[in-house]
């Protein structure tokens, strides 16, 4: 497993735990948007306050300061994985 995939899986596990999702990590698409106003295609994160908990858990897990992760990274799992992988590589 590449370091990118390790980060991606860990992010999915954190999302499953915080959002109390009843899904396995591999069944969550990395491209599903976190937020959506569409009632037909809801975003992964329906409770806006959850983002606070997610950013806090991510920072703890990857030994980062939460403010290091830009807001633009919180689009989907893919963008978040990219951002965290870059920060860890720097």
């Amino acid at each position: 497993m590449s370091s990118y995939e390790i980060v991606e899986t860990k992010i999915k596990e954190i999302l499953i735990e915080v959002l109390k999702l009843k899904q396995a990590p591999e069944s969550i698409s990395s491209q599903t948007p976190f937020f959506s106003n569409s009632p037909v295609k809801p975003g992964l994160i329906e409770d806006s306050l959850a983002i606070l908990e997610i950013s806090s858990r991510l920072a703890e897990e990857f030994d980062l300061i939460p403010s290091e992760i830009e807001e633009t990274a919180y689009q989907n799992i893919g963008t978040l994985t990219e951002a965290i992988s870059s920060l860890k590589a720097a």
Binding site: F35, E46, S48, L52, E53, S55, S67, Y74
Partner: protein, 401 residues
Amino acid sequence: MDRTALIDEIRQIGDYVSRREMGKMEKGITKDFNFVSASLSHFLPGLDQDEHPSFYLEMMRHRSLAVLHSDLPQLVHKMSVRKGGGPEKGQSPEDSRKAPFVPVVGAPMIYCGYHLGSYRAIIGYMVRENLNFGLLLDKRTFLEQGDAVRQSIQELRESTGKEVQFTLFNAEDPLSLVAISKWMRDSNPIVAYIDGNTGYGGLYNEKESLFMEMELFGHPIKCRKGIALLSYLMQVPIVPAISYFENQEDAPILEIHAPICPWNSRETKEQYMQRANQALFQILEEKLARYPSQWEAWLYVHKFIPARLLKEEALQAANDADAGMLCFNKKGFGLFKMGEKAYLFNRTNYSSFEIPPALFDILEELRGRHSFGYAEAGLSTGNLSTLIRKNILSHITPSAK
């Protein structure tokens, strides 16, 4: 503006607001009054319903004056800042009450304000003390009044000569929450209101997970979790800051209480949120008991009553009518107009129903005259029995007396 001119302006505004609101009442444009009155009956049942109109006028006067007070730089300068809470060891209650609060500069904090007194006083305080701050606004205020709020703060900055930095955040935008946490990580405080109105969708459409239940005067009330959750996750204290007027003609008072801190390692997130919000509501309750008409939130507090408490049935009318007479159930219902349309308002569950204007006139007259003989009611037998069955009209029979 000198004191005499200020007192004159305050009186003029008060007179104008009273005339405007009384004019609306005479025309039946009383939707807001009906909601406020229903909430007063719910939270402050000790306040006689007959006193609600004068309470409402007083509240509306305060609402206008709160804006005036906050926009006048000289009043921001004169605003008295006091330390809230009980006296410290060896300190008299009076000395404690007058002790100034010393702001902590360069530390992240969540200043929690309330819509009581001069609710913008906390903003004036941040500018006056040169504390950079972020202001959390609900989505509606952010979109509709954001520019006006920016302009108002900018003017305050210029008039006080302070170069304080500020930014506005939409509290309902999830990514704003990330931005807020960054803002605080940079050691900047934020200002948020615990008792603000809600966004476009209305509270009824919001997710229950965003709220927790607290008590206000012993009655359950929904409270947003956001402030306490932010405090817990960021490990940043909440500083309650409540404003009120001891006298309308004086500058507002801003009472700043001891911080509510999240760093008790044995406390769970839920336990902390419960403790923090209860402490915030307790401070509100104490001041509200003393200055009830200074709370603007009476206009929308009904949105925070848990749905399960909104009873289907209207309250029974008081048995105070004469035998064989009809009376309008004032405890259970209200009446108001919006444009040409007339509405019957259920005071126990805050629902409104459009009714024919002719029925509105009859019910309005029944309400005004307290009681009415059957023959005088001017209603068909069918309408009359429906109104009685639904408790909108009550009649007292000799045996029930």
